[in-house]
């Protein structure tokens, strides 16, 4: 007979902690490697090429603590969110029209595909030529560069809805509002969240280009200043502001996904 009692029920605290540390370690490890490589390079290269990350850290703190500087970060964030919201609302409406009418679909699809082929920088030039107000120019650029992707993603989600489930809901004769609330919105939500995640990354890159030309504030404008001063630490610190923003919003979207899609079955065997 063994002296060791069998362990039944929940795993011991130590193994749970070890598992948590492993999970944290695996997600942090890539960042640690990049940081170490950069810091190692900073020992051998001039400051203007590879500044110490300690300098970059203090520049980040300066941006966070200085009201004027932080206002530039907030301005950029608001421009990204306004552009994405505008593109999502217009794209969602266009997708609904396209899914309801073949004629609208046939008319709009080629135009949106054409828009997809226009580089962000071209939209910047068009905006400068067509419009006066800086903020409107940036909003226009943000909307035009993310609109086709949002439209096609929402359209795909609407077309991908289960016909069986739609017929089942229809059999209860829902009003349009109820149909949207009980069926369409939950069915397309996963694709919409994915669309936001993808377009968030695109928008954070485009906003900088838009701000580089013509804006008098924002992360793009500040990056232009750092370039003129040849200040690599500053350029990195301002870039990191956008990276932090994207990471925070992606994290928030993941939290929403985890809460909204808890109904999904999870297979014990991965792909």
């Amino acid at each position: 007979m063994s002296d060791i009692a069998p362990q039944i029920g929940s795993p011991p605290l130590a193994s749970m902690l070890l598992a948590a540390v492993k999970r944290l370690g695996s997600s942090v490890l890539p960042f640690v490697v990049v940081i170490l490589l950069w810091q190692f390079a900073s020992l051998f290269f001039p400051r203007f090429l590879f500044p110490s990350l300690i300098d970059v850290f203090w520049r980040c703190i300066e941006i966070f603590s200085n009201g004027t500087m932080f206002a530039d970060v907030l301005a950029t964030i608001l421009r990204i969110l306004a552009g994405l919201a505008g593109a999502f609302i217009i794209g969602g409406a266009l997708a609904l029209l396209m899914v309801r009418s073949r004629a609208v679909d046939k008319f709009l699809s080629p135009i949106l595909t054409l828009f997809q082929g226009i580089p962000a920088l071209s939209w910047v030039v068009f905006a400068i030529i067509w419009f006066h107000g800086v903020e409107f120019r940036i909003l226009f650029i943000m909307v035009m560069t993310t609109l086709p992707a949002f439209t096609f993603q929402v359209l795909g989600a609407l077309r991908g809805m289960s016909r069986d489930l739609m017929e089942m809901v229809f059999s209860f004769r829902p009003t349009r509002t109820k149909l949207f609330r009980v069926m369409i919105a939950p069915a397309i939500l996963p694709d919409i969240l994915t669309a936001w995640k993808v377009n968030l990354g695109n928008a954070s890159r485009v906003v900088v280009v838009a701000e580089l030309v013509g804006a008098t504030g924002g992360v793009g404008y500040q990056l232009l200043q750092q370039q003129q001063l040849f200040d690599m630490a500053g350029a990195l610190a301002w870039t990191l502001q956008l990276v932090f923003f994207v990471l925070i919003v992606q994290g928030a979207l993941t939290l929403i996904e985890n809460a909204a899609f808890r109904y999904r079955a999870v297979s014990e065997r991965g792909i």
Binding site: D164, L165, E167, M168, V169, F170, S171, F172, R173, P174, T175, K178, V182, M183, P186, A260, F261, Y263, R264, A265
Partner: protein
């Protein structure tokens, strides 16, 4: 065993010379239903029996108002279910071949779906849904999502969903065909009991002769393209021998 005679006035469901053609006129046109006349009286349980592809589901969808007939008239409680679609809110419920539960809703939320369309107060919705889940032996599974339920349990949720609205007309499209025979048998018996107890008019599509005999008090056998090949009514007094005769006759019609 008797002939079925139902006047349109007393018919809950009335199909008059109904045809349905899919595709454009010409070579690729497919005639699924051809000049069908059918009346189902109020309180009747009609089993529509036929081989795969004979047009049963097309008839079903036309009665449900999900498909428009190419020609002819479909009336349910005197109204056109396709053009007067919204007027059937709460008056017609459907049990589909597969459970068609919304995966993002729990069992009880799925049962509440039809009541939500009827703007029933939340407390009333919850109480009714709970009652039907309990009646169908799903007490304790109210908050389970569909993926956590077995096939039989999911189909029971879908039956509860259909009964919860207290609709007078029930349409069922082979609801037990995807289940194992033992579960299907149990659910079938429960279903017949609930329909009888609640005085519903039911149209039950099936391709199984045994199921049709068990469920219906009238069987209509369809031949492609959805024409009535045999129509027979019976009741609880119909003896075993008579039922065997009906089974044999249906078998002959289907084989012909």
């Amino acid at each position: 065993m008797r002939d079925t005679v139902t006047t349109p006035i007393e018919a809950a469901i009335h199909l008059d010379n109904v045809s349905k053609v899919f595709g454009k006129a010409g070579t690729d046109a497919y005639r699924a239903v051809d000049g069908l006349n059918l009346d189902v009286r109020s309180g009747q349980m009609l089993a529509l029996l036929g081989k795969t592809g004979c047009g049963k589901s097309t008839i079903f969808n036309m009665i449900a108002g999900l498909t428009e007939p190419t020609s002819g008239t479909v009336r349910v409680s005197g109204r056109d279910p396709f053009t007067d679609f919204d007027s059937f809110r709460g008056k017609m419920a459907i049990v589909f071949q597969n459970d068609r539960l919304l995966p993002w809703r729990t069992a009880i939320q799925n049962v509440e779906l039809g009541l939500e369309m009827l703007e029933a107060p939340a407390a009333e919705r919850r109480a009714t849904a709970q009652l039907w889940l309990t009646k169908l032996g799903l007490g304790g599974h109210e908050d389970d999502y569909p993926h956590a339920l077995s096939g039989g349990m999911r189909q029971r949720v879908s039956i509860a969903r259909a009964f919860a609205t207290n609709a007078n007309i029930l349409l069922c499209d082979e609801p037990f065909s995807a289940l194992d025979e033992s579960t299907a048998g149990r659910l079938r018996a429960e279903f017949v009991r609930l329909v009888k107890e609640n005085g519903k008019t039911a149209v039950f599509i099936t391709h199984s002769i045994s199921e049709a005999l068990e469920i219906g008090d009238r069987i209509v056998v369809l031949k492609r393209p959805a024409m009535i090949a045999y129509d027979v009514s019976f009741d609880g007094d119909t003896g075993k021998e008579e039922r065997e005769l009906i089974r044999s006759r249906i078998g002959d019609v289907l084989a012909a």
